[in-house]
Symmetry: D4
Subunit: 215 residues, 8 copies
């Protein structure tokens, strides 16, 4: 009756960032600009932190869609970057699929702009090829809530799992003792309320730094 | 566990516009009037652009429901137009079903007013006859968000796919190189933010026009 | 892959109104009071109009939950009315189930207050006994949208269909020609926008009254 | 086609409260603080009222996440309390799972902060081990509605049931006559509108106290 | 520093209903249709109840703006009714101003559609002629909240007072003992929550009817 | 050009609680029930904490409006309590005005249900008699946001100041050193986020209790 | 006590359009893109329709702010167009002020992007020079509702009047008989609900065209 | 009739940052955390950019209110920093007032947490001493929108001007040519949409840098 628990595994996951381009970002209206930018950068940071393979792609970046957010190129200078010459569904681009398969990973953590096209199309294609697809809903943006929820339904019915960057980070990390400072820094940099907690904690607890990690 | 990816195919799709009538439009309150009108016209424009067969129908157009939006008749003067004498579910009207089947298409792109009746009823009937049904959620309007979400759930559970006009256009087009100017014009005419991108792009890039299409 | 289209049939449907009591109504906060009252009365009017069997029930009506909305008793003086002495799930009350089964109907149109209890519990029980359950979402109210959507999900996953009073009326009526004046009056009395359409239509078209019904 | 009705049973249910910690609570933004605090305390009160076994756990409580809400420790001084040294998914902590299994219950009523991690992860793990999982959506909080709805979808698709504390109480109680005063007090303490109903009722009906319980 | 308290006086007030026409009502989007219709009828009922002079007017009622809501004509068959041949600001119509002045009242209770035109224009004109203007904000509707709040600001800055139908009724009535049944009926007919209170009260208190009026 | 800063003074302020009755509370829809109840009790607690004179009044409490919230009577057993026999504006009741004047205070902190009547009317009357009026907006409730904002505008234009219970407490207290524990307890009991801060602080800082008060 | 009614006069009004540039438009988030674009074009259309003098200006149009919306240049090819080389407040640009004064008009109808800067600054400057300023709130956009309402308050306190394009059109036109077809066309082109009314009206009333104009 | 235009002057303005403390920030619920943090840092950045004198203060920072946001101390290491030992209204603290007056500025740009206390109280006090007060509404946070709007009204009525950080920056800067790169960097760092414009612009226009500054 129920789906099995497909749990993200740090050794089996890759991150696909699709079309976070300077022009296309102006279309995103289901998030306010500050949190959306923060979510995308948080996803990039967690990919780097967990050393996950990353694949970058853009659609028509020399036209009005504009260039990829510079921060993403800078953060992953060695990641495969596939500027698609025209294919709207990134999965229709052989180089992109090749790059994805070259990671050797079967769990695809996917985000992009706009949700119902740049995310949903490759998500549906990847599910068909038996990848496990995890959509990072809060790093994927679109025109409005109707587009968001219609595309969530389509992806969920097809078998993709709806996640957030925070849930992805937590499911990959599994145990704080793996690296307290690292995960704490990730959260502090992208969750102002968490940063405040740490600020107060450190002040009250000083001079002791952070709670000590497990052996 | 998951549904197969039923992907829209330009050679297998038809568009059904159900009851976008001047009177009934005053009932639509889950969209503001400007975007809703825009979405309906965008769907019409994409149907014309992709040369998809279109079927038009109305319910009781000589009564308070009022006439079809004139723009739709004008845009598709040769499309079959079935003013239903009384059937609420368009699929109960033999002429309508005949017109749909005469298109020879198995993928039905469906929009109308109001969502839970004029869209949901034929959607459910068509699914039962093994058509693939794609509901254009943002060109379908109703009284409020309760009606919208209840009817989305009913249609989705029955196997219909929830789309938007933008996702339909992108899934049909598949590759920008098919016709850059055409798709760009469609987006520019119906997405103000996209129009702005193109305006700035053209200004900065002039005198070079648009990025050149693939051979 | 998809559920079959279980379509409401005027000869096979009954209406169950559960706990629309004067006290409990003050708990309803996911609808504003005016539309909620209107929706409940619209459902009652359509039940009367289509001559569907109706079963009324209340929970603890001599306590703070208060008496049934007087309009419902007055509209259905001969309907079975089961004031439950304590059972929270109406389906746990033998008299209620007996009354439902006595209607001989297999399609249950169900509404009540509050949604996640008074509606969801009997909905789930009835589905288990192979009734087809149609929840009238807009005549069922609860504390807030979290309660609403959590209970919708539970009912939908169990196989109930989410409807609105307007969709129920339209699916039962099937063809305007069955009775134009009757359905028009139902809509005019409960949809101000529709009433306005009729007012303008009649003024412009006078002295001809309504569009004539089919033979 | 539909899931069976898994109904909460007072003899088979346990309550798991995960990470309602003073620091983490500042992250909760999908509920206003007053109702969220009220919902958590209502869930605790109902657990105590129905004498359900309770398991408490925290994540890293000596760090910025902060201590458990003191009210929960005070209410369940004898409940197993597992401060996890690092595991993010409580189900990864052997002591926690052992404590859950020691209750001998197969129905797990689960709430926590934040929903997509502290609730969703153990919910998915428990479903995999054939527990029946009931998520108390309104005693579980997270950053925003995107996180809420993405995680609801993941849990629902996996087979968990989405509940509220009120629905849990009502489904466990089953019949008011079991204890009118007790359930009335629970509702009066946590639902201001219900308290008002009782206040007015008692005033108007005095000197008769509450409606008499069944024999 | 502060304005004097201009208090509504039953002997000095008149009600002006401007352009509540069947067509124009479809433009109103800052209220849902059910409460807006209710508010307009409540204002009409209170005008009748307090026997205030009423002036009715319409704009271009033979065109698309449509006829006045029939309920208003029926309720005030003897009130002056000025169908304006073209003036947008009712105060530009001599017959209208004459009718207003013929009431001999200096306090004008004003509502209409749409707020920033049909209400604001005569409100500003009347203030200039030293009438005291009371705008019934909830019986005046317009396109959206921007229009509403911009026009509220303009009217308030000019010296008009912003009221609701309920506040108008209460300020005119002043003392329940003036007529308990009458005011109770007005509230019961237009405030579902108040009706519920009365229903429960009457049930619990029976056979005594309503609280007795003062001598 | 600007109003002088009328600052609340603990020796010159009184609290007027108007019509917080069990029945009338069911009309309040511009606040959710949990925060509204909390705000009213917070205002009562601060009145008691600062030992301000309090005047209680009700409208028609033997009818459907219902009795005063019992907590208010219990908290101020010695406060003047004026059940008005019929006057809607409490200022029209001589006993009430007498009680207000007997306090000898010129600053009136005022809250009630519903805002545009039970609060606005006495606020306007008191301003006319040269009292300084401070409306506690979040302990005053009404039907919806239209009623709220229309009445705020009327009161503000007349010279009343719009406050919240938290601002009232802070303006009266002036200096934390006056009584750290007392004000901290008030905030902890009525602001869950503040309670969490204190819980974490006390845990981290233990065994030192609260920051020490000034001499 | 109240401001005089400064009424727009077709012979004394000019329209100032400030910084509706393709880049800056992507900053506007307090309106959805479809209605905002529509409002700006409606304001332009009404300026043309009433033959009001128009002044166009841009800020730094060769930089990222981008070029003026092309539709505005095309509609007013002969209007003074002042691309400001750097001044943020258009009133600081001598050419702009000269162009405004050259119109000879004392009533300035003002709209722009973003509201709190490009609109508020020249509005405040113009008021200081004794112009009557009418802000077209719905053709002026900004980042969010906080920015909108803060700037509305600043402008309103300074003496500007808050309008909408519809109110401007109606106040200028004054009498439908001045030109029924013209005003009707303006409304039909920019208010979908009004267009629907006209469509139904014309259908029902045909072959008679529009209501006849006054002599 | 209208207030004079008090325009911010770079030589006459100072910035007061009141109580942006790690604990108090968890109380802020009228903004989402990402934009609120961004707004506060933007205000700090503009103060540094324009070299305005800054005064920092905290309330009880050794208690649960927590330490000042570390970024503020780091950005203004030489600014007067007044940790108030207890005064709630910063203006009641002599050292604070002395520091403000020592700046020699008469225009006070003020922001803090929470709005109705830490901002409103010193704003009202400063206005009384004839300072010109500019409240940065979007860098000031509080519990909810009721608190926000009540306090805005109180401050606006007293003569304070409601601003945003963006309007403050623009009014101080006055002319882009003063320093194009500097202001562009400020906007790019705090307005994601503006950053995107610059990214696209630079890409399209390269290798030419930014539009050239005035001589």
């Amino acid at each position: 009756m129920s789906k099995p628990y497909r749990r993200l595994d740090i050794h089996n996951a890759a991150v696909l960032l699709v079309d976070h381009q300077a022009g296309l970002l102006s279309l995103v209206r289901d998030f306010n600009p500050d949190p959306f930018r923060n979510n995308v950068l948080a996803l990039a940071d967690l990919a780097a932190y967990f050393k996950l393979p990353v694949v970058l792609t853009t659609s028509f970046e020399e036209g009005p869609n504009g260039p990829l957010m510079p921060e993403l190129r800078e953060k992953f200078p060695d990641a495969p970057f596939i500027p698609r010459p025209g294919q709207i569904n990134a999965w229709d681009n052989e180089d992109f699929v090749k790059a994805v398969k070259a990671t050797g990973r079967k769990q695809l953590i996917l985000a992009g702009v706009v949700t119902e096209v740049c995310v949903a199309f490759p998500a549906l294609s990847a599910v068909e090829e038996d990848f496990e697809v995890f959509v990072v809903t809060d790093a994927s943006g679109t025109f409005n809530e109707v587009s968001r929820h219609a595309s969530w339904d389509r992806m969920s019915q097809a078998g993709a799992q709806l996640m957030t960057w925070f849930a992805v980070a937590a499911e990959l990390h599994r145990d704080w003792r793996r690296d307290v400072e690292g995960l704490g820094a990730l959260f502090s940099n992208h969750i102002p309320d968490y940063r405040n907690l740490i600020t107060s904690y450190n002040t009250f607890k000083a001079p002791k730094p952070q709670p000590k990690a497990a052996p």
